[in-house]
Symmetry: C2
Subunit: 307 residues, 2 copies
Amino acid sequence: MGMVNWMSFEQVLNDKVKETENVIGAYLPKEQGWAKTVMEAMNYSVNAGGKRLRPMLMAETYKLFGGREKVIEPFMAAIEMIHTYSLVHDDLPAMDNDEYRRGRKTTWVVYGDAMAVLAGDGLLNFAFETALKSFEMPACDAARKARALSILANKAGIYGMIGGQTADIEAENLGSQVTQEHLLFIHEHKTAALIQAAMMVGAVLAGADDAQVELVEKAAYEIGIAFQIQDDILDVTSTLETLGKPVGSDAKNNKTTYVTLRGLEEAMQEQKDMSNHAVALLKSLEEKGFQNSFLIELIESLITRIR
Amino acid sequence: MGMVNWMSFEQVLNDKVKETENVIGAYLPKEQGWAKTVMEAMNYSVNAGGKRLRPMLMAETYKLFGGREKVIEPFMAAIEMIHTYSLVHDDLPAMDNDEYRRGRKTTWVVYGDAMAVLAGDGLLNFAFETALKSFEMPACDAARKARALSILANKAGIYGMIGGQTADIEAENLGSQVTQEHLLFIHEHKTAALIQAAMMVGAVLAGADDAQVELVEKAAYEIGIAFQIQDDILDVTSTLETLGKPVGSDAKNNKTTYVTLRGLEEAMQEQKDMSNHAVALLKSLEEKGFQNSFLIELIESLITRIR
């Protein structure tokens, strides 16, 4: 028998994260000219680490539906810029007033409040500027690119992530009076919307049909909610060292979370059920020949992640 | 002789402002759902008045080159949203800390810091979401729309307006040591870039050729710089009542402006020269049959505006 040379999921994941960071890095601005500082602050924010989950989910969903072109790359960079800007603005003294994220000083601590506002604005604007570069690339028709851009804008905006952040801020004033309906709105919009955008953009650019895009939207909803519940769980069960950010902040802020509403065990069970259902949805595509085992493993890894 | 029924420029302008506000209003979000507050804050910001100069310049440049379709409308709304978000974020305590604008309380004073950050983000994102709706409209081909979107994103972002704001913040720390080169970079990017975007988007969507778009870009540069110099002039020569915002803030902040660098009289003369040259450029298109007398009057009115 020959030598079996399997790479572990972790090894493959590490390679994919590096590939993804190379793609993102190629689209970041060069730090030069009179506006150099905002570019430094943007790059500091994007290069502060993170799981690169959204661009990876996008690339893997694109591959799932047979996509093989570089047209996905500006969109991968764009969604990471959008995710990053939301963190930069979230961390501001005017918002969550967080000084550390992923074990590093947050953008406003390093560059000041004003520059952090501009760096966030810069990243959001540059995300669209970057994704629009796809129109200069030969692969797939303009209609697909326009649709992908519209999905990205919709899921990132007031009917998506920004809507979720708004509802989240209002929930803070309600404390323990937040209902499950309100909390699910927050999780769906603040977290799941951008996961949906990632996977739907991948599907649309690869030429998936409407029913397939809808299936992906559903699966991504469950992945996003499960991902957010895991965040709520880790805020209770993890440590500063493991998580790279302070734990117990939800309790400190008297915040209603899935864990406070349902209890830790039930939250963990529901989170697992949702992930499993999302995986089952995606596996149902296999009979039509659409298969990506790394994507499935990536999603499954989310329920067991520790940070 | 029949009765001559000329409307004055001011009457026509008032009507055009109202038309423009109707177009913008049609694209503003309905205030409903769990994220209602951010939508209210966005609409409050956009409805706080203003000259609507950018969407008007866009529509009139579109008409100049023979554009007659509704495809311009989502772009008109988009550029006003971008202009408005920049004001909302500029006014934040983390930035200029302004409590009044156009005689009304600024967004953060009414809705709080956090919601003002989100309202600005919401407007910027919604601007692209809105402009992307043009792809669902039949007029002109996708390539023109994509090019118009790219111009808008570029001129609003770190290579445009946000770049100018960055250089402006850095200039504040330099006080009287700011050079003319630095100041011109600020004016070009913070102010002229969005005027360029407005007029270039109008030209591109109407089908202007590359040389014409370039001519418009040059004229808009001069209009933008002249417009900003007028701002600097009014900060010295106007009153709170007329201007609708505090005067003398540049001197108070020890800010280098075109007026402090060149003196009031020379600044006024240069501003007039630039406006005249911009008008001459646009009038040079008349020999090819491209003519819009209202656009010329609008630009000329900018050098004599008092607020």
